[in-house]
């Protein structure tokens, strides 16, 4: 029992060290890498434009349902005028960064892990190395740099659409004056909330895309199997671990910034 716990602990420490080396190598090799900007733009398109519909849809429905639930709860106390405060603080502080990150993990993160896993299996990564091209700089670094920019942008968009969804729900469907809603939003959201939101978005983007890239890149080392099974297992692991890390990091950041 003690031996098993010890072995498991050592494995975790080893994996964390390996992950840190993976990130360090990716950024180190990216320095001076040719055409890095072009690959970052391409990665931004993949993580940004392609994930836009899901961000807009989920953001809108989050705002709508929050507005609906919030209105009926506040109505019991005659405080419907505070709907803007409730929706805006919920979305900007918590739901925006967390849900946007989870959506991006589901779409861009899983795609990244699967793509790298297949490239590993079909020896495309080995081919890059034999050409003298760093696979970390060519394949991983652009995705990580793009995530640092795309996650905050997508989160901001999610929050805007969510706020609009709350307004739609509260004023258009339930009859609350739009001016009351938006003035409450304006009063409630302060710069510190926006900073918290962006801090979370950048952190989630870095952590989740790192995990997805790491698992995809090392799909050949997956214990669950090799080939298609290995890619499948590493993609699943990437998505599950990324989702957990989003929620765990959210708690840690909130506890520091609240």
């Amino acid at each position: 029992m003690v031996r098993a716990v010890g072995r498991y602990t050592l494995e975790i420490v080893q994996s964390l060290g390996d992950l840190a080396l993976f990130v360090g190598r990716s950024f180190r090799m990216a320095v001076g890498s040719r055409k890095l900007g072009r690959r970052v733009v391409r990665a931004m398109f993949e993580q940004g434009a392609r994930c836009l519909p899901v961000i807009l849809i989920v953001g809108l429905f989050t705002g709508l349902v929050l507005g609906l639930q919030g209105y009926y709860v506040l109505n019991r106390f005659g405080s419907e005028s505070l709907l803007g405060t409730l929706v805006s603080l919920s979305i900007v502080r918590e739901l925006g960064p967390v849900l946007a990150a989870l959506m991006l993990v589901g779409q861009a993160g899983s795609a990244l892990a699967a793509e790298l896993g297949i490239q590993r299996n079909t020896e495309q990564i080995a081919a890059l190395e034999t050409m003298g091209v760093s696979s970390h700089a060519y394949l991983v670094a652009p995705r990580l740099i793009a995530a640092l920019m795309v996650f905050p942008m997508q989160t901001a968009l999610f929050c805007c659409v969510g706020l609009w969804g709350g307004s739609l729900s509260g004023s258009l469907l339930l009859g609350l004056e739009p001016g009351i809603y938006w003035s409450a939003v304006e009063r409630a959201v302060e710069l510190v909330d926006v900073r918290e939101c962006m801090t979370k978005a950048v952190t989630f983007g870095f952590l989740t895309m790192t995990l997805c890239a790491y698992h995809g890149f090392n799909a050949h080392r997956c214990r669950s199997g090799t080939g298609a099974r290995g890619v499948s297992a590493s993609t699943t692991r990437a998505v599950v671990q990324s989702s957990i890390i989003v929620l765990a990091a959210d708690y840690v950041i909130t506890s520091f910034l609240i």
């Binding site: 890498s33 040719r34 055409k35 490239q119 079909t122 020896e123 495309q124 080995a126 081919a127 190395e129 034999t130 050409m131 003298g132 091209v133 060519y138």
Partner: protein
């Protein structure tokens, strides 16, 4: 026939590699003369691909020395290894083409990433390589839209576009029918002479290798049990060479025994 050391492009001494308890390479040595086409033969699972991947730095050997153009490729010496990589290309058994890039982008990739060339020059050289391999009409196709033979030629175009001195071929004819096998060997021999690179081919196709190669080596149980010219290979009395060379005669004998109803012993592959 002795080879002068200055004529050697590649010299491998005592290469060893283990995977867990299994020893794949147990001191394999090989010399590759400059400008030659060398074929490394061996049974399936003899460690031929591992040997080649150790040379290409895809797999790290446990022990042994690799000399390229008179310089030792020491582990940890990133500069020397980078220099080696810039002068060497590797053709994977699976071709390892980038399936999300077009034929032109595949060929241009090593030029863009490893050389200081203007965009126009990269395009020009890439198209030239495609033209030499008779693929210029397919520059905008993705590898998935090409036949197996075209993919092989595209992989070769990508390998030669940087004008390497050494090209390593990992079982280029694996899984091909005899007609296509001949075509691939002819293609390699033709372009090897045309571009003047040194070629090291790992294969188990004996007849084709004996016709196309300048030198032949036989890898068995992790060691090179034979190295010499095709003529020397044909004349060799080495037991493993005889077994490998005369496999068709062995097959005829065994089939005759089966027809006679005799019990024969088969060896696990």
């Amino acid at each position: 026939m002795a080879i002068e050391s200055q004529d050697l492009l590649l010299k491998v001494e005592g290469l060893q590699k283990r995977f867990g308890e299994q020893s794949v390479l147990a001191g394999a040595s090989l010399t590759v003369p400059r400008g030659s086409l060398v074929a490394v033969l061996g049974r399936s699972g003899a460690g031929k691909s591992v040997f080649l991947k150790c040379l290409a730095d895809v797999i790290e050997p446990d022990a042994g020395e690799i000399w390229f153009d008179g310089r030792l490729l020491a582990r940890g010496d990133a500069g020397v290894r980078q220099h080696f990589r810039s002068r060497c290309s590797f053709l994977f058994q699976s071709n390892a083409l980038f399936d999300s890039l077009t034929a032109l982008e595949n060929v241009a990739l090593p030029l863009e990433q490893t050389m200081d060339l203007q965009a126009g020059e990269v395009r020009e050289r890439s198209l030239e390589a495609l033209k030499q391999l008779e693929l210029e009409a397919f520059w905008d196709r993705y590898p998935g839209q090409m036949s197996g033979g075209m993919q092989k030629r595209l992989a070769l175009a990508r390998a030669i576009v940087t004008r390497p001195e050494l090209v390593l071929f990992d079982e280029p004819t694996a899984g091909l029918d005899p007609v296509r096998r001949n075509a691939v060997f002819t293609m390699i021999a033709k372009y090897q002479r045309q571009f003047g690179f040194t070629a090291l081919i790992v294969t188990h196709d004996v007849p084709e290798a004996l016709v196309a190669a300048d030198r032949v080596a036989l890898l068995d149980t992790g060691r090179m049990v034979f190295q010499g010219s095709p003529g020397e290979f044909i004349a060799s009395e080495e037991a493993m060479v005889i077994q490998f060379r005369d496999s068709e005669k062995e097959l005829s004998k065994m089939l005759a025994s089966i027809r006679r109803g005799e019990t024969i012993q088969t060896e696990d592959t």
